[in-house]
């Protein structure tokens, strides 16, 4: 019989990819690991009811649209018609959602599917425009808007903090290295710090 297997280290998508480029000061990228996540897809004809149920869970109204709603430790992101990507800092997120949305939506665990980076720093916008084909100007992108789009061929779900100072990217974890390649090349002249989990 083999030795008992004891080391079940959980690794985030950016594990081992911390780095500092140049001054390190133009842009800071911090991995947000350990969040539970789920895709919520409303049953046929139940998008409004599912939004209401999500809103009840958060204590803040959720809409069927590309908007971010935060409530407590949970963030709900509209990612498609009748579809939300939900992040939560609680292990029971999927179970809680399944209970809250019984009969209204499918809840699929995606806790390990995404690698998440919080981007901030004085050159945030300058770096993002080198990859994003979206207008992040306040006139075009509200602080609670969510965008599902692509950067350098990598699919991203993007949202920002209320003060617009932090932009968060959730990407497929298998593409973490490729996203960093873009980030590093784009931020090199201004300096970049990546803090992986």
């Amino acid at each position: 019989m083999a030795d008992p297997v004891s080391d079940w280290t959980h690794r985030g998508g950016f594990a081992g990819l911390s780095r500092r480029i140049g001054s390190g000061e133009g842009l800071k990228a911090v991995e947000r690991a350990g969040l539970a996540a789920a895709t919520v897809i409303a049953r046929r004809g139940k998008a409004a009811d599912a939004a209401t149920a999500l809103g009840r869970m958060l204590g803040a109204p959720v809409v069927d649209g590309g908007k971010r709603t935060s409530g407590g430790d949970v963030t709900v992101l509209g990612t498609g018609p009748g579809t939300w990507l939900v992040f939560g800092d609680r292990p029971a997120l999927v179970a809680d959602l399944t209970a809250a949305l019984d009969g209204l939506a499918a809840v699929v665990d995606q806790s390990d599917a995404n690698a998440i980076l919080d981007l901030s720093g004085p050159r945030l916008v300058d770096v993002l425009e080198k990859g994003l084909r979206l207008d992040l100007h306040p006139a075009a992108f509200a602080a609670d808007d969510v965008a599902v789009t692509a950067i350098a061929h990598v699919g991203v779900t993007l949202w920002m903090s209320d003060d617009r100072a932090t932009v968060t990217l959730a990407i497929p974890r298998s593409l973490a290295g490729s996203l960093l390649h873009w980030l590093e090349a784009s931020a090199r002249p201004v300096g970049l710090t990546v803090e992986a989990d």
Binding site: V5, G12, K130, S186, P189
Partner: protein, 986 residues
Amino acid sequence: MTSHRLASGGLIDRATPIGFSFDGRPLTGHAGDTLASALVANGIRLVGRSFKYHRPRGIVSAGPEEPNALVEKGRGPRREPNTRATTIELHPGLDAASQNRWPSLAFDIQAIAQFAAPILGAGFYYKTFMWPAALWERLYEPAIRRAAGLGRLSGAADPDAYEKAHAFCDLLVIGAGPAGLAAALTAGRAGARVILVDQDFRLGGRLLCERVEVDAMPGPVWAGEVEAELKSLSNVRILTRTSAFGLYDGEVGAVERLTDHLPVTPAGEARQRLWTLVPKRILLAAGAIERPIVFGGNDRPGVMLASAMRTYVERYAALPGRQVALFTTTDDGWQTAASFARAGSPLAAIIDARREVPEAVRALAGDVPVFLGARVLDAIGGQSLRAIDIVGDHGRRRLAVDGLAVSGGFNPDLALTTHLGHKPVWSDERAAFIPGDLPANVAVAGAAAGRFTLAAALADGARLGAEAAREAGHTPAETPAFRAGDEPCAVAPLFHVEGGRGKAFVDLQNDVTDSDVALAAREGFVSVEHLKRYTTLGMATDQGRTSSVNGLAILAALTGRTIPETGTTRARPPHVPVAIGALAGLHRGRDFKPTRLTPAHGWAKEQGAIFVESGPWLRAQWFPKAGETDWLQSVTREVEAVRAGVGICDVSTLGKIALSGPDVGTFLDRVYANTFSTLPVGKVRYGLMLREDGFVMDDGTTARLGPDEWVMSTTTANAGKVMQHLAFCHQVLWPELDVQMVSVTEQWAQFAVAGPRSRDLLEALFGPEADVSDAALPYLGCTTLALGPTRARLFRISFSGERAYEIAVPAGYGDALARALMAAGRDLGVTPYGTEALAVMRIEKGHVAGAELNGQTVARDLGLGRMLSKKKDYVGRLMAERAALNEASRPTLVGLKPTVAGVRLRSGAHVLPLGVPPTAEHDQGYVTSTAYSPTLGSWIALALVANGPARHGEEVRIHDPVRSGDVVATIVSPVFVDPEGARLHG
């Protein structure tokens, strides 16, 4: 001070001398110079040899329209050919070389070509090198390239980095001359988001080159004040050194030269940035380009556009000649006389084709000799202009000159407005093409619109800037009125002077003469588009900026038509040359597309895996062990280890789709060719998916883990395609079905555990509490089990034909799972195996994969015909039932075994009957997959062969002309190993 630099004036920084070299000769210029202006200031005339005839050529213009002064810039891998000296910003260490001459610029042997001119006329290549075609590659093309080449590529990889960016605005202003500045300022002050681009390194456009005043300030001063104000506005972005090169649907492409003007590229900086500008409105204020006049010897170095001469004098304080004459048919040309007079070098003569010139214009000349109603017939000289022959009311006479300024009118730079197919219209009044039908969000201002005076340009800009601001929801305080004069700008069109003795060039860059245009017309190429292709007029880096209208006008005259009857000039992007590197940006070499890594990639790397690209993924191909010298050795070991014991393989790359909802069963029945609605909980089923045309799209398994928990797997290659197809089926075909689905490929790390000892390994992994017995988990069963801190999904499925399982854990535990499997299987001799061993085993087992699911096979071809349900409708059913797709003669899956052991089979080889010539008519199919089977001790193959299943036992010829293979093989069943399936269960 260099020989032709004026003692004062200009916008150069006299305190900053800059050393550079041209053809190896060290020279000095100043900050603010272009390479061209520095050459002019150094008295250098001869800058290149022409494309076809190798005639000596000089600088013609002062901008991007330059057809002659193309140089190789830089050295080594950074050498860039065909760079226009007029747009190269002078910088320390700039190393430029003339092109297209051998052995030296002054003495070029190939200049002899001009004496062979009668045979080098229009269509020369088409006529001469037609036949025999075989000689093209070997003889004609290399010879032509050597003779004609426009500069040389370095042949080395581009060492620079490039980047791309997107920017959005209410108003994009292209061109920072008076109109553009007025527009940007008006819209910017109103609060609109403005992007202002200019190809120059300094804002101002013609304001920098003319003696004019705006708001009682000299042009450059006013431009400087506007620039300062624009820079203070956070809603305005200024991009200098940026060329807008194309108008696309709703977007403008532009390239910003970030470091080309620096002696050394700063580490980490991109050389150029490719902008995609997304504006609500576009204002084109790109100005106009002066039109030369076609006459004999008009290519002699020293013949220059009149406005360019003025630019060199006013902006760069460089004198293009000391004995300069002016040949004009415009009022504007006379401004050059005024410039030269102010510079203390009055013109030698003014030749105006018009008989009458307004008094105010005449006054610009001072007391220079003026010949009205006269023309320049010939320019005379070799490497430099010596004299001109003029003809007019006063008869013919020769004037000794060293320079000739030419002004034939102005061509508004409208190329961008024509990129989407819109046409400019000819205005007789302005002797120019002016905007006609324009794209919806495009407006044109100033000289680009054919409004050639400064006051008109400023007024246009202010009006259109205010309009754009209002449209974006901003209210301009008031439209500013900029004070400036309406200088005289009349033109009496003259395109061509006939009767000269020398060659008269229409297109200097392509060496197209008036006789070439005449020849084309005689031969029936009377459409402008045909003329262009037949003579190459208007092609290459200058895109016909100085030649197109003249060519058109000459063709019109030859064919007795007006210019509008003859055609218009329309352009295609890019308007300026764009480096391929800029278009590629970051995505070159290995980074052309992103690379996906599995959660256990690091573990595989530690094991020394050799990786292979599999779609976007990198997968372990095999794991070499110490002492193994060749891949086949490693792969054979891995296969034997699995077939005799147990192996593990990372299959995380397979597509995984979660499905939920009351109608999943119905939905799967419609997208799969076989039935799924009957799949019980705890079971897995193999499924075949067809395209609507009946051909096989993909295969995979779907498991039902719970009453409403389904998970489909797809092949690695088709994961995205299948997801898109399912979304299509759901959203477009059957939106009434209550189904929810989402990709979970990223959520799960998945390993295959295969071999007769695989269950033993699972028992060790999961521990005694878990029941993985055959009773609890029979073949095609599935379950979930606790594993460490998480839960694993366990599927009993097999690709290898052995007892096998696939185990999935959340991706964050993928690395840990690999290590845990290795630890749990240590005593069993667990062996990691890669895609190569995986492929060997599936070929041994006759399982189809990508090579057989190649888009040309139907289920029947693959021996899977029995999977097609007759009881239901599904995507592809009706088309798959077509008779032609069900004929026995179709290439159908078989196995092949060479008759002589040890002989290798290769994929792609053709299958032929024995004893016939290897020709297409005898072709009976082809080899799709091959492997060395350790189990059989022989190479084996899967192939698609006509009537295949009926021919087991027949010997056929396996012919591989590309790799000189020719072997005899026996057709056998595609299932080489364990056809009864005993190992699967035992």
